[in-house]
Amino acid sequence: MNTPNMHLYILAAPLLSAFAVNLLGRVSRAWIGPLILAALGFSTFGALLTLLRVLRDGAYRYTVGNWQAPYGIELVIDPLSALMLLLVSSVALLATCSALKSVQNELPGREHLFFTLYMILVAGLLGLVQTGDAFNLYVLLEITAITTYGLIAMGPDRAPLASFNYIIMGSIGACFYLLGVGYLYILTGTLNMADIAGILPGLNAPAAVATAFAFLMVGLWVKMALFPLHVWLPNAYSQAPTGAGVMIAPLMTKVTVYLMIRVMFSIFSPGYEFIQHAGVQSLIVWAASLAILCASSLALAQRDLRRMLTYILVAEVAYMVGGVWLANGTGMTGAILHIVNDAMMTLCLFLAAAAILYRTGSLEFDRLHGLYRRMPLTMAAFTVGALSMIGVPPTCGFFSKWYLILGAVRAGHWEFMTALLISSLINAVLFFRILELAYFQPVAGLQATTQQGSGEAPLPMLSPLLISAIALLALGFGCGPLIENVIRLALPPGFAP
């Protein structure tokens, strides 16, 4: 099964299933689950094949509709995008198992509508990680954004307002990105990433190029919720329906970080960012360090589990931005490894939160007592996720933190190292607070408002949770081969892990 169009099939499967779900789902709800699981399973398998092929044969470019570059839209499948393909499809697959159950619980009768948007979102993400055209990126970015707006607005109570605020902020980000692409088009006359990269060094318009770069960066930073442009994220992600949260939270911000890496290295070059504008590089690492500290501190103030996780997510984004901007191979390796690890960690924690919400109806801290007794497996997986966030070996979170801190040491950015260490300690406090609550107090009163009976989470929610927890350990032990064989190839030339 080695067709040259595999990566498009990976994208097409969720897209087609979106339409099928909408139509067949109206007839009978039972069609939805098998359809989307089959589509995502196919995507994951295809992504794995694509990754193996890229590692064996090298990167390749694909012209859509046979319109040749630089006029046609080009897809780039190199080790980094293949890795992201696999990451997006596998995380989506695991999240969907859980989402099916929680959507059935929270949005009865509207599952076909929910999953239509859901599958288009997955298709958009899969497209985002493959595209080699700057404007195509904007289009796909907005596709994913619009579906996310819709998914979040489906939540209860204040979710529509949170979604509206997300619309406003997200549109600002996307428009800035569009403006940046506009500048680049004026300067180079082309929209193809590789083509722009070839033309840029020869230009003599430093102010314009810098402005283009600034717009692109700020636009993406708004989209990935880098502190202090993060204001939309906590509300949006914590009030979204549970089924939407488990897929959006692990993926959206990580894919946007990937986009930042693409813009930095495939459109512009490391020489441009790190050498010509060395002051900017230093400034951004400082800003990232501050972002980590502020976001982690904000997380301390939260009383709801999912909100706390969203603030930790904001801090993790700052990890990756700082790591990339450290300007050495170690930091970049750490950032790319952290994309993979953080997606998995966030997935594990959000799945656990979904399971707890399903059984107990609330994620407020004072309702979490005695959970170790009631939901031992869920809490065991949550513990693994928490340890990974804190950075305890042998979970994967330790190793990406290792590379990030090592990169900071090698670059002499001691403030970044300090921020990372303090953030790990704050994460330890945050998570042990919860683990202590869940471990100690007896089951909170007799009115433990269990909607679906008491006991462990249902199997469709429990199995992806356990798989993701095991994946955290597997990624930890296997990070050596992962870096050696995949991430090393994803670094720009001249940089080594």
Binding site: E142, I146, I172, Y185
Partner: protein, 129 residues
């Protein structure tokens, strides 16, 4: 000063777009009414669309398709035809803008049904209760 002024006059359309963008941006952030925020977003996006469309302009050039015959009289010469690519790109951007507006309006209807108002501070008050 003279040179600056002549620069501004020569590129007057871009300066108008900048002003539009600022108006839109201010409306998005500064206004409390959700409809006004949405309008601000639209103005902001429109300003960018106009910016792109302006890029394609060339002095004394003809409009693609409309002026086809007049331009083709002199053979195919790129400098005599406006660049159509930005226009096409902006068609996509307009579609995106309209879709986002549509979703935002749908969400606003939902908010109005739930809270009875579209003023952000009143909504926050109602949530706080």
């Amino acid at each position: 000063m003279d040179q600056l002024l002549s620069e501004i006059v020569a590129k007057y359309n871009y300066w108008i777009y900048v002003v539009l963008m600022m108006i839109g941006f201010y409306a998005m952030i500064g206004k409390r009414n959700l409809v006004k925020k949405l309008l601000g977003m639209n103005i902001f996006q429109t300003a960018i669309i106009l910016f792109y469309v302006s890029i394609g302009g060339k002095r004394g050039a003809g409009i693609p398709i409309v002026d086809k015959h007049a331009v083709m009289l002199h053979g195919v010469d790129a400098s005599r035809i406006l660049n159509p690519l930005p226009h096409v790109l902006m068609l996509t951007a307009i579609v995106v803008s309209v879709s986002v507006t549509g979703v935002a309006l749908a969400i606003m209807i939902r908010i109005h049904r739930k809270f009875g108002t579209l003023e952000e501070d009143e909504i926050l008050e109602k949530i706080g209760q």
